[in-house]
Symmetry: C2
Subunit: 332 residues, 2 copies
């Protein structure tokens, strides 16, 4: 076939050969993206962990976000789900609904973002589907990870009387959304850049998740919000939890905002999109958890404890309850 004009939209098979087949070189089971399906088996003694996320322009990312950042966020939110099960990344599948505005430059940037994060996180493309849509850009990614059989860390296995931990910092993405929609203004430029960056490009805890196998009793990643996601652990485990808000780790930018406007504590505790690991663990693993965090270079904070009963309570420095109007993000 004749090569497409510069900038014009190449055909499906050219797009696959030029932009996506190179991303599949690391996975033999991808069959070079030339077959009906991929062929994959876990390493002997392992099992697969499989997760799916769909992101839509105007809903989950901004239509003018750079395509390479969109690609990396798409991959990272799925990697975060794998990490939350204690799984190591293996391969991913991509289904794209592409509006007619998508051109060569878009494919170059998008596939470039995937290539960068594939290298960073050790995962390869194994298959997909490229389709046209009259609607907004829509991206669906299915990620497959591996764990030794029986060692995946679930949500439903927390017990009362355990510690509650979270990685990184909480609330940056929710505060970034407040900046984007104009509710927060006049921040120092560096704080704005930090918060927006955390929203656009979360850091999946790909090394720390697997390091918690045998240590954490239950785990989830913070996507719906700290309170809501701890609520998911509590509901499925049949327990309750208390969080000491002063122990919740905040970035310098977030801490400055909360200090100036204490009501933003609710935004921090209920906002979503942090993609940090939230987990429970028995007291006896404290030393091992601290050591594992130091080994992989992840900040981890002990923020509360699980209790008998139900519900999730947020407490201030005096131990008094902080009331929150909303529990967390709902997808629709």
């Amino acid at each position: 076939m004749a090569p497409a004009a510069p900038g014009a939209r190449p055909g499906e098979f050219e797009v696959i050969a030029r932009f996506f087949a190179p991303l599949a070189k690391g996975e033999a089971g991808a069959l070079g993206l030339t077959d009906d399906a991929a062929i994959l088996a876990p390493v002997a003694g392992n099992e697969f962990v499989v997760t799916v996320d769909m992101l839509t322009a105007g809903v989950h990312f901004l239509p003018d976000d750079p395509p390479d950042l969109v690609a990396r966020k798409l991959l990272r939110v799925n990697l975060s789900d794998l990490a939350a099960m204690g799984a190591t990344p293996r391969a991913y599948f991509l289904a794209l609904g592409l509006p007619s505005s998508v051109d060569v430059a878009w494919f170059e940037a998008f596939s470039g973002g995937l290539a960068a994060d594939q290298a960073a996180f050790g995962i390869a493309l194994a298959g997909g589907d490229t389709t046209a849509t009259p609607g907004p850009l829509v991206l669906s990614l299915t990620a497959i990870g591996e764990v030794p059989a029986g060692s995946a860390i679930r949500r439903s296995t927390a017990r009362a009387g355990e510690d509650v931990y979270v990685t990184g910092t909480i609330g940056d993405a929710a505060l970034a959304l407040c900046i984007i929609d104009g509710r927060l203004r006049d921040l120092p430029a560096a704080d704005t850049a930090h918060l927006i960056g955390r929203y656009r490009l979360p850091e999946p805890r790909v090394a720390f998740g697997p390091a918690l196998r045998g240590l954490a009793s239950a785990m989830i990643d913070v996507s719906d919000g700290l309170l809501a996601d701890l609520g998911h652990i509590c509901e499925t485990s049949g327990i309750g939890a208390e969080i000491d808000f002063p122990q919740v780790p905040l970035s310098t930018a977030a801490a400055r905002l909360v200090a100036g406007t204490p009501a933003l504590a609710e935004t921090v505790a209920t906002g979503g999109d942090d993609y940090e690991l939230l987990f429970t663990a028995p007291e006896r693993t404290r030393g091992a958890i601290t050591a594992a965090a130091a080994r992989v270079g992840v900040r981890v904070a002990r923020i509360g404890r699980t209790i008998a009963g139900g519900g999730v309570r947020l407490r201030d420095a005096a131990g008094l309850p902080i009331e929150t109007a909303r529990a967390g993000w709902r997808h629709f």
Copy 2:
């Protein structure tokens, strides 16, 4: 939470619990759809075959198609990809982009369609993502099947001098699209119903695909069109092929149309969406293929042969070439 008003859109967690969790009961690794991901391992000695398809309203199905039929078509096009690798269905993952028009009745019909076909084809839901979209309804399905390790039937392994076969009948879906867009009119009502039904609800050859392991040398399902898909086998295998058009199996309705308008032969040979199996096999397996087809109750026709060289030629009853202007369906 308070139950939603009749017909109103329930919340995400209610939708999952009410309509989707029941579909996951057959797969323990789905963890009741309450965790970040599913946990799956192939049966000992097997490997997984994984495929993804995305369907969008107005592109791949009609916006007013009944939701149960849309659900079944979504599942079936993926089951057809698994069958084309010789794989037996195991589990699937669903990512939904839902416009605000989707209500309880839609979820009931959609999940009902999935339930019916899960039972018919032996597969269970294992996970997914439900999201909102301001655009058209978009559905992405990742299907996982199993094959004994090393026995998946690929596209790239056909050799020259083999037979070419196809299951069922070819061209019905392409002719249905001609009816839908008004290019074909005044058919007998029964013929219209047959053709439209074939377009809306393809029949994945879930039993016959695995029965061809060890018999077929290469296989694909007919989604882009008979000529284009045989072209995919030929290109990846480095061979060519000839099809005898009079041997291509047509439904009674399609045969009537082609007899009246011989130019429709091109529509039949190049139209997509048949979801029949197209495969190559050495001559010595003819008896075994016929027996396998009889055993699972699938019609199979020998329609040509592979040759050295390249390209796919279509021949008429006299063995003369039939020229076709277009090779097959491109997704964009």
